[in-house]
């Protein structure tokens, strides 16, 4: 975004971001050589959930559209990939890129109707879209295998080992998340933000709100399609249940828990939920109860999510430190 001269604070922020990024990358790179195969599988799952959650946040956090049917696009992408490779025996790369394209087109088509409605109604229709998609996958046995799904979807030889799958998913997710990061920091991302904060003002400065919303919706659907293809590559199977409404809610809670007003919030939320779900489900069958209490606590006590809380604590510490330095105290402004 910023060109030419970079202010000192922004430079230090960039340095810090680069440092955090390097640590995360190093951790991701070392993990396959120290962790168990199951941990690898779980981590791959966390990675494409990051992709799905961050793409959902393009809608929830940046545009203010609470989609309750985001898994529909993930599911469409996953089924596209599975059907193309298993039924049509298509080339891997063709199937891999067809998945997001089909999901994106589906999002474009459904988004055209969804964004005409506001707030609650938007949530409703997206939910209905997800339900219809689920029912289609469930009932259209000839195409999708119905309830028994499509087990044993083939992957190319270079993705045979779990380690290769992991690195492939990590690379794709990192690339796509970077793309989304650039999008949210582009003029278009700012337009989305403006529409969330003040639709009338956005209209006033000449933004075609509906069109921008459709673009955001399609982009998010496209990214979810990628996540769907990665899902199939990781689990080598696909079942209608990935498109249940509860899965959509899982995604939303990832976004809200991590913090929807921060780009990396949903990524943190996704990792937390994937690992928490794994730990709790191993101990008790009452995971829904735990998740329910978690949602209630997050919504009531920290609606800005983990990143919101961390930012507030950070801002407070900075304020205190600056006061001690006897300089003019300016509360830390959150980076977005």
């Amino acid at each position: 975004m910023s060109t030419g001269q970079v202010p000192a604070t922004a430079r230090s922020r960039r340095l810090r971001a680069a440092a955090v990024g390097l640590v995360v990358l190093a951790g991701l790179g070392v993990l396959p050589f120290v962790g168990s195969q199951y941990l690898l599988y779980l981590n791959s799952q966390a990675l494409f959930m990051i992709l799905a959650a961050v793409s959902l946040n393009l809608l929830v956090g940046y545009t203010g559209l609470f989609s309750y049917g985001h898994v529909a696009y993930l599911g469409v992408g996953a089924y596209t990939y599975a059907i193309l490779t298993q039924t049509a025996h298509a080339n891997f790369w063709l199937a891999f890129f067809a998945a997001p394209v089909v999901a994106g087109l589906f999002a474009l088509l459904t988004g055209y109707f969804c964004v005409r409605l506001t707030a609650i109604y938007f949530s409703f229709v997206t939910l209905a879209v997800a339900q219809i998609s689920w029912a289609t996958a469930y009932k259209w046995i000839g195409l999708t295998g119905g309830d028994s799904g499509m087990p044993g979807v083939a992957v190319p030889t270079f993705l045979m080992s779990p380690r290769a799958v992991y690195f492939f998913i990590a690379a794709v997710v990192a690339l796509l998340v970077m793309v989304m990061h650039q999008v949210t920091h582009s003029p278009f991302g700012l337009i989305l933000n403006t529409m969330r904060e003040n639709p009338n003002r956005a209209l006033f400065i000449g933004v075609n709100i509906k069109r921008a919303q459709i673009v955001a919706f399609s982009l998010a659907g496209l990214m979810a399609g990628f996540a769907g293809a990665l899902f199939v590559i990781n689990t080598r199977s696909i079942f209608p249940n990935v498109m249940l409404v509860t899965r959509s809610i899982d995604l939303i809670i990832m976004v809200v828990l991590g913090g929807m007003y921060h780009f990396w919030g949903p990524a943190i939320g996704a990792v937390m939920i994937v690992y928490l779900m794994d730990v709790i489900k191993a101990r008790t069958e009452y995971w829904p109860l735990v998740l329910g209490v978690l949602i209630a606590v997050v919504v009531l006590a920290m609606p800005t999510g983990v990143t919101g809380v961390v930012e507030r604590i950070y801002g407070w510490l900075k304020l205190r430190w600056e006061k001690r330095q006897n300089t003019v105290a300016v509360p830390g402004e959150g980076s977005g």
């Binding site: 929830v60 609470f66 309750y68 109707f113 005409r116 409605l117 506001t118 707030a119 609650i120 109604y121 949530s123 409703f124 229709v125 209905a128 879209v129 339900q131 219809i132 689920w134 029912a135 289609t136 469930y138 009932k139 259209w140 809610i249 939303i252 809670i253 809200v256 009452y286 829904p288 109860l289 998740l291 329910g292 209490v293 978690l294 949602i295 209630a296 919504v299 009531l300 609606p303």
Partner: protein, 278 residues
């Protein structure tokens, strides 16, 4: 038809809460389920009559709704998306708590003695209890309609729905009104669950097949319109029955296709006028 009637009881409470307070209460199906479990528990384990069970369900679930609104949901006023998520948390919590308390085995509630018979009606056999439901549905719809349109409380509630600040300025405690409305909605859900308990098996997950069609009924019928909701429930009941009969492959999607069509072409519902835009 009887399915349409129990659907109506749930949908009317939902419509009330959504229309007046703008809260999308996902947990409504769970309240319905709590009502069914309460009736089962009172009429079986405690050995009381079915009607005592119904009464306990209405009161119990109503009070539960009051508490939920007063202490939790009222904190989230004006953040409808978070409310949606929050009520969904209750779906998970209630579902698991009932499972913890009563186990996963399906429970049966016997038909009340008064309506235990079977009527022959044009060659088909028909439980008297279903007839009772079919008669009761329109009565409740009418009572709600009159209560909303003709009584003082109904007027205040409608005013609060239209302009919360203005009603507050007139010296009326809007928060209390909302709490009462939510309680009434919950009470209707409890009643719905209680009355439905003899016709279905009381078990975990019984809320799922009810809550989504109920939402569709509210949206299709138009917000806050009991008449519209009533008609929508009848339509959905018929669509479900004939859909399963003629196009079984699509049976899961029918109601959603219906809702999508209505939202695409008449977003204000069947009965309302196109007034609200936001």
């Amino acid at each position: 038809m009887s399915y349409a009637m129990s659907l109506f009881l749930i949908a009317s409470g939902l419509s009330l809460i959504l229309g007046v307070m703008g809260i999308v209460n996902f947990a409504h199906g769970s309240l319905y389920m709590v009502g069914a479990y309460l009736t089962w528990w009172v009429s079986t384990s405690l050995g009381a009559s079915f009607w005592v069970g119904v009464l306990c369900s209405m009161v119990g679930v109503g009070v539960l709704g009051l508490l939920m609104q007063r202490f939790l949901i009222s904190r989230l006023y004006g953040r409808s998306e978070l409310q949606l998520l929050f009520t969904f948390a209750f779906v998970l919590i209630f579902g698991d708590l009932l499972k913890l308390l009563f186990g996963v085995l399906p429970k049966g509630v016997a038909y009340p003695v008064l309506f235990n018979g079977i009527v022959h009606f044009g060659g088909t056999r028909f439980p008297t209890y279903n007839l009772f439901l079919i008669v009761l549905g329109p009565i409740i719809a009418y009572l709600l309609h009159v209560g909303e349109r003709r009584t003082r409380i109904g007027r205040v509630v409608r005013a609060a729905a239209a302009n919360r600040e203005m009603v507050g300025t007139l010296g009326i405690d809007v928060g209390r009104i909302f709490t009462v409305v939510f309680g009434l909605g919950a009470l209707l859900a409890g009643l719905g669950g209680a009355l439905a308990s003899p016709t279905t098996s009381v078990q975990p997950g019984m809320d799922v097949p009810v809550i989504l069609p109920a939402f569709v009924a509210v949206v299709v019928g138009g917000l806050g319109s009991f008449g519209g909701t009533f008609v929508a429930c009848l339509i959905i009941g018929q669509v479900q029955v004939f859909g399963i009969l003629y196009l079984p492959r699509l049976s899961e999607s029918f109601v959603f296709i219906l809702m999508a069509l209505v939202l695409a072409f008449r977003p204000w519902g069947l009965s309302n006028k196109p007034l609200r835009t936001s």
